[in-house]
């Protein structure tokens, strides 16, 4: 059930109704309404897949209980211990917890690899075997359960937090399952932390008109981004990228730029819809985007795009790899050889590349995604290494780096680098991507007109106006954040009179109804739903 279907809207209204209609003495059971709704939501994608998620959640749950038992023992041992001996006890107990953590991680990652990576691995092994004149392993094409990459990472995050003793294990399996299956976040994240979402899921939520209203504003904004902009652009991008061999020249630059806008509106639009829906139930989900196209550097871009995935990799890959003995020695040696600043940047190359190859693989076992990950990894390493030398050059040349025009130049530069990355991500095979990128600035004899593509002049005008409007709103949000305004646009709207509030919401709905791409068979599936 897609969140942009009529079915979802009816389903969501019914869930809200039952959720808030529970009598006061039964409100503590609101989570059961969420569990039932999530089971129906997930089962609509396939009962078999629901079984897979439940089994995985069961394994994690059992291991988490053992880890909690260890934490309880640790608590007893810590009674009366001074700070230093407490640290010693904690380390010893942690070593014991590690066994259970390993079992659970193997199960979660193993299931993830079977569904997402097995065919890629077998195909590549077969290629090697073919070169060595050996037999061929049959490839199994397994359809992955909905949101497997997202819920697997949420489970890993839960296990890691428990291992570090940051949270208490959920003792009730059905409650844990509710957290995993929670229908707003299971398909596309955000990759939340149990500490915040878990707490909010299991407390009572009284009906609050203002909270629901704000949730609805966010949902309308999300539907606008997805249905009016992303799905309209999708027709053009699919036409060009789907038959890249038939095109050449600047059209790929245009396709790359438009795909960058499409994927942003698609993914962040989905986040707005699900965060808004979740807010209507009184549960706040983490923000996953902070206007990434305003970033001046690539590292900044990745701190503002898919924030929860970035945080996951920083905590669970970058820090552990960087603080391993080998890399610490390398760090020391590099700083001695090249000085502190440059040395630490050079030493960080390998951990950064590890993170980026894994980020690519997370999107799917496919050479395009891996290539895209390596591309970003290399650029981020270069950006880190050359940050100081470039600053020195700017100072020497007296370039006004604080001037707005220079900042706009930096934003456009970052955006362009992302566009090239998108073409690697998008191609049907790496050769397709190379063709698109190398052809991007070549002169071409072919003349493309509006008629060459599925969108009409009117549709282009609608998209253009909507993108300008989206950019305007984003500029306002940027300014409000820079000025450390305590309220958001939604808070501001909530303080206005009812007529203005109604006017804004109804105009939004009207724009979606008039200019959106929706209905049976229309529109495109969410891009991140496939991950």
């Amino acid at each position: 059930m897609s969140v942009v279907s009529y079915g979802f809207l009816v389903f969501f209204v019914l869930v809200c109704f039952v959720y808030y209609a529970l009598p006061k003495n039964l409100q503590k059971l609101q989570w059961i309404v969420i569990l039932a709704a999530s089971l129906i939501f997930y089962a609509s994608a396939g009962v078999f897949y629901l079984g897979i998620v439940t089994i995985t959640a069961g394994i994690v749950y059992i291991c988490s209980l053992f880890m909690q038992k260890n934490l309880d023992q640790q608590e007893q041992l810590l009674e009366g211990a001074d700070r230093r001996s407490a640290r010693k006890i904690k380390n010893e107990m942690k070593q014991k917890r590690k066994r259970m953590l390993t079992v659970a991680l193997c199960a979660v990652i193993g299931i993830l690899i079977v569904f997402k990576g097995s065919s890629f691995l077998i195909e590549n092994i077969n290629m090697l075997l073919w070169h060595m004149d050996h037999g061929i392993i049959p490839v199994w094409k397994l359809a992955a359960p909905l949101g497997i990459s997202f819920y697997s990472f949420m489970m890993i995050s839960y296990l890691m937090d428990l291992y570090h003793g940051k949270i208490h294990a959920q003792q009730n399996f059905l409650k844990y399952l509710t957290y995993v299956l929670y229908f707003p976040h299971i398909t596309q994240g955000p990759i939340g932390r149990y500490e915040s979402t878990g707490k909010e899921l299991f407390v009572e939520h009284a009906f609050c008109y203002s909270v629901i209203k704000k949730g609805l504003y966010l949902m309308v904004w999300g539907y606008f981004k997805k249905l009016v902009i992303a799905d309209r652009l999708s027709a053009f991008v699919t036409a060009v990228i789907g038959s890249a061999g038939n095109y050449e020249g600047y059209i790929f630059l245009i396709a790359g730029i438009l795909y960058s806008i499409q994927i942003y509106c698609d993914f962040s639009g989905c986040m707005d819809i699900i965060r808004g829906a979740s807010e209507c139930l009184g549960i706040t989900l983490k923000e996953n985007f902070k206007r990434p196209y305003f970033s001046k550097t690539l590292p900044e871009f990745w701190r503002r795009w898919h924030i929860s995935l970035g945080e996951f990799f920083r905590e669970n890959v970058f820090y552990p790899v960087s603080t391993s003995q080998v890399f610490l020695k390398w760090n020391t040696a590099a700083r001695k050889r090249f000085g502190n600043e440059l040395g630490r940047n050079i030493a960080s190359v390998m951990p950064i590349l590890c993170v980026w190859v894994l980020t690519g693989v997370w999107h799917g076992a496919n050479w395009n995604y891996i290539g895209w990950g390596i591309y970003h990894g290399i650029l981020i390493c270069l950006s880190t290494i050359f940050e100081q030398p470039l600053m020195a050059v700017n100072t020497r040349l007296k370039i006004p780096t604080e001037h707005i025009l220079f900042k706009i130049f930096q934003m456009l530069r970052t955006f362009f680098l992302c566009v090239v990355g998108r073409l690697i991500f998008l191609g049907n095979g790496l050769s397709d991507s190379f063709h698109m990128i190398s052809s991007m600035f070549k002169r071409t004899q072919t003349v493309y007109t509006v008629e060459s593509f599925p969108l009409t002049v009117n549709e282009w005008c609608v998209v253009l106006i909507c993108v300008i409007f989206l950019s305007g709103v984003s500029v306002v949000q940027e300014i409000m954040e820079k000025k450390q305004a305590e309220m958001t646009i939604r808070d501001w709207l909530d303080k206005q009179n009812v007529l203005l509030q109604m006017g804004v919401v109804l105009t939004g709905i009207l724009v979606i109804l008039c200019f959106g791409v929706y209905g049976q068979g229309a529109g495109a599936a969410f891009i991140y739903e496939q991950f």
Partner: protein, 75 residues
């Protein structure tokens, strides 16, 4: 502590480690600086700080970092 402050100053000369109490929260120390501090601590004191100790509370001030090192020295 004096020796440790010198170590920090060597890594991040522009930061006043004697006064700052929110090094991570205020963005004065970023992830690569923290890794450098951990590597320098491993080199100078022979103390390995595990990655799960990389939380803002442990790196927000020179005192917090020093306390962390002292704890791990004993183990």
């Amino acid at each position: 502590m004096e020796e440790f402050l010198k170590l920090l100053k060597k890594i991040k000369p522009n930061v006043d480690f004697t006064k700052e109490q929110a090094l991570v929260d205020d963005g004065l120390l970023e992830s690569l600086d923290i890794i450098s501090i951990i590597s320098e601590v491993a080199e100078v004191y022979g103390v390995l700080i595990p990655s799960d100790e990389i939380i803002p509370d442990n790196f927000n001030s020179a005192e917090a970092m020093y306390e962390l090192i002292e704890d791990f020295k004993e183990n």
